[in-house]
């Protein structure tokens, strides 16, 4: 019997991931053992501290390793724990992006000033108990009536959402660093399962929220089954699931090529589903609309980052040598996504749905960069994800502030004349919409420029022309909302704009500042994004 060799583990590289997942486990324990009124403060502190500590650990590791270290043989190599993870430069960049976006999302989710008591509640009974409606059965003074929080305090929210969020964040970080298909599959599930649950926790409009959760869950499980079958077929083709070894086997395998193509197709379907690329996008508008807005912000920004980080790595490291076989297919997919997102976005009457269709169009743009298997393609994709993530989080932060008696007023007609009621909010929203449209001096312009020039360099001139037309069409529906806010009379019973608490203010400000900075001074972030390629 051959002795087992202990794999080398580079703890310095893995520390950010370990901190996030460890904090998630501690958060579960806090949820189990703390009395209710102490949970919210301790969960918020734990989440923020954990994300900040992971950021510091990442910074220390990133500044302490050089590009040579990452490719050198030995324990400084990016590939660690027996080849399961690869903490290379793109992975570090994406980890940083995910942690920053995660911090902003935690703040949005934790806010209790916008929706009194917080936007997250578990079941109809508790919703009634915390004051969202009349108590169903309980007489005053009973334990039901007290509900969440101390008796003399404002009712608090369901704090299980914090460990769920940390687990999802940990799954996303694993996903973008995964170096074999099995690790990728497990990470996909670890990031998806908490998100399915988080979608169903809205305090108001329960039916919409639960319907979104069911749709997301059933379609997500369906898509991950496709991913898994793709994994099995690739394993059958190459006899391995490590990306670098799959890449070697493309030239040497003796099995039928149809195994490879069927496997790759199924694998990519599973990944494109997560990135909400049309024609695998049907869940996106429903889930974005139904989920609680802070959760939508987290999902829209972070899932996109994770999915495209994973797609870029798989296409680049494992299947880069077969690019002539898959590029035409992904071309078609990217075109469909851009066209569907831009055209169907025109017809929307709900702000959250409109942003969802915009995210489908953006997914097409990001795919342009991800499928250009070049250094510029990778760095452009990374930069785009950073810019898009912050803009999206701020957009959903703003959406959560426009409210009327029934909660958020997401119908577009309700936003008419909002600039007269709240010039600041309308100004911020206009800036963010212009960034999504890709106007110069915003991050939207620089990031679009980065991916389009990468696609041009990889021979996709036609594709870039289509992308430009699609962004022009998409700009129309962003500007329609801007025109509506500035040039129509506000309705008499129009929604009011809530003055946000500190948490939401910080999250929106962060998003706006990054959007502006990446538009005016993109060099630093572009330098980070381009500081090294994937190490398989």
């Amino acid at each position: 019997m051959t002795p087992l060799t202990v794999p080398e583990i580079n703890y310095g590289a893995l520390l950010p991931l370990l901190i996030i997942l460890g904090a998630a486990c501690i958060a579960v324990l806090l949820e189990a053992f703390l009395p209710r009124h102490q949970r919210w403060p301790s969960q918020v502190v734990l989440s923020v501290v954990a994300i900040a500590a992971a950021g510091v650990a990442l910074g220390v590791h990133a500044s302490g390793t050089t590009a040579e270290d990452l490719t050198a043989v030995g324990e400084t190599n990016a590939v660690t724990i027996a080849g399961a993870l690869s903490v290379d430069r793109p992975a570090m960049f994406l980890w940083g992006t995910l942690l920053a976006l995660g911090l902003a999302s935690v703040l949005l989710i934790a806010d209790r000033s916008v929706e009194p008591g917080g936007a997250i509640v578990a079941s109809a009974m508790e919703r009634a108990a915390v004051g969202g409606g009349k108590p169903v059965s309980a007489a005053p003074g009973t334990s039901e009536d007290r509900g969440y929080g101390a008796p003399d305090q404002a009712p608090t929210m369901q704090t299980e959402v914090f460990p769920l969020m940390l687990f999802a964040l940990g799954g996303m970080m694993t996903f973008v660093a995964a170096n074999d298909l099995l690790t990728m599959f497990i990470a996909l599930e670890v990031l998806s399962l908490p998100l399915y649950l988080m979608c169903g926790l809205a305090r108001r409009r329960r039916l919409l929220s639960q319907e979104a959760a069911v749709k997301y869950f059933l379609l997500g499980a369906f898509a991950s089954a496709f991913f898994l079958y793709g994994l099995a077929l690739i394993y059958g083709y190459s006899g391995t699931i490590r990306f670098a070894e799959i890449s070697d086997s493309l030239a040497t395998s003796t099995r039928s090529d149809s195994l490879l193509f069927a496997g790759l197709a199924l694998l990519v379907v599973g990944l494109l589903f997560k990135g909400s690329v049309a024609p695998f996008h049907t869940w996106t508008p429903d889930v974005y609309q139904g989920a609680p807005t802070p959760v939508t912000a987290f999902m829209a920004a972070c899932t996109k980052v994770a999915a495209f980080g994973g797609i870029a790595r798989v296409l680049y490291v494992a299947f880069g040598d077969a690019r002539w076989d898959w590029t035409p297919v992904l071309w078609v997919v990217a075109v469909i996504s851009m066209v569907v997102g831009a055209v169907l976005g025109l017809a929307q009457t709900d702000v959250k749905r409109m942003i969802a269709y915009s995210s489908i169009a953006h997914a097409g743009f990001i795919l342009l960069g991800a499928m250009a298997v070049t250094e510029e393609g990778v760095s452009g994709t990374l930069f785009y994800l950073l810019a898009y993530g912050f803009t999206t989080i701020a957009v959903f932060g703003v959406i959560s502030l426009v409210r009327d008696a029934d909660g958020e007023a997401t119908a577009m007609s309700r936003w008419a004349g909002l600039a007269k009621r709240s010039p600041v909010l309308a100004g911020v929203m206009t800036f963010l919409l212009l960034a999504l449209a890709g106007i110069p001096l915003t991050s939207g312009f620089t990031s679009k420029f980065a991916v389009f020039s990468a696609a041009l360099g990889a021979g996709g001139a036609v594709l870039v022309v289509i992308a430009l037309v699609a962004s022009a069409v998409a700009a129309f529906f962003y500007l329609r909302l801007v025109v509506l806010m500035y040039f129509s009379e506000p309705p008499a019973d129009g929604p009011s704009v809530v003055v946000p608490g500190a948490f939401t203010t910080v999250a929106i400000t962060l998003g706006v500042l990054v959007t502006l900075l990446l538009g005016v001074l993109p060099t630093l972030a572009l330098g980070w994004a381009g500081s090294g390629g994937f190490v398989g």
């Binding site: 079941s123 109809a124 099995l182 599959f185 497990i186 599930e189 399962l193 399915y196 649950l197 169903g200 329960r206 039916l207 919409l208 639960q210 319907e211 979104a212 959760a213 069911v214 749709k215 869950f217 059933l218 499980a221 369906f222 089954a225 898994l228 079958y229 994994l231 099995a232 077929l233 394993y235 059958g236 006899g239 391995t240 699931i241 508008p285 429903d286 609309q289 139904g290 017809a347």
Partner: protein, 99 residues
């Protein structure tokens, strides 16, 4: 018997599961079809492990089982919560979000 037959069986089971997801109307049955797809993949994995003469495919099947179990926990919780509010587990009834 040639191991290729098991691959055909696995493809067949996977297709039955996929078609079931598309045509069935009860959320629980749809979910069972997804589980069937995952188990069809398990059959493929162990067959390929046999054909490659390596063990890793069998180990992967264990990972898939654990993931499937975790998915059941989350899935049934979600389906239960919507059943409590709607008194129905038909996915045709959940039709508030559209267009």
């Amino acid at each position: 018997m040639s191991p290729a037959n098991y691959l055909l069986l696995s493809a067949l089971l996977f297709s039955i599961g996929a078609i079931g997801v598309l045509v069935r109307r009860n959320a629980i049955v749809v979910f069972m079809c997804v589980e069937m797809m995952l188990n069809a993949v398990n059959l493929s994995l162990v067959t390929f492990a046999r054909m490659n003469g390596a063990l890793d495919g069998q180990v992967m099947a264990f990972f898939v089982m654990v993931v499937a179990a975790a998915e059941v926990v989350v899935g049934l919780a979600i389906i239960m919560s919507i059943f409590r509010t709607r008194r129905s587990s038909s996915i045709d009834d959940a039709n508030l979000l559209k267009y």
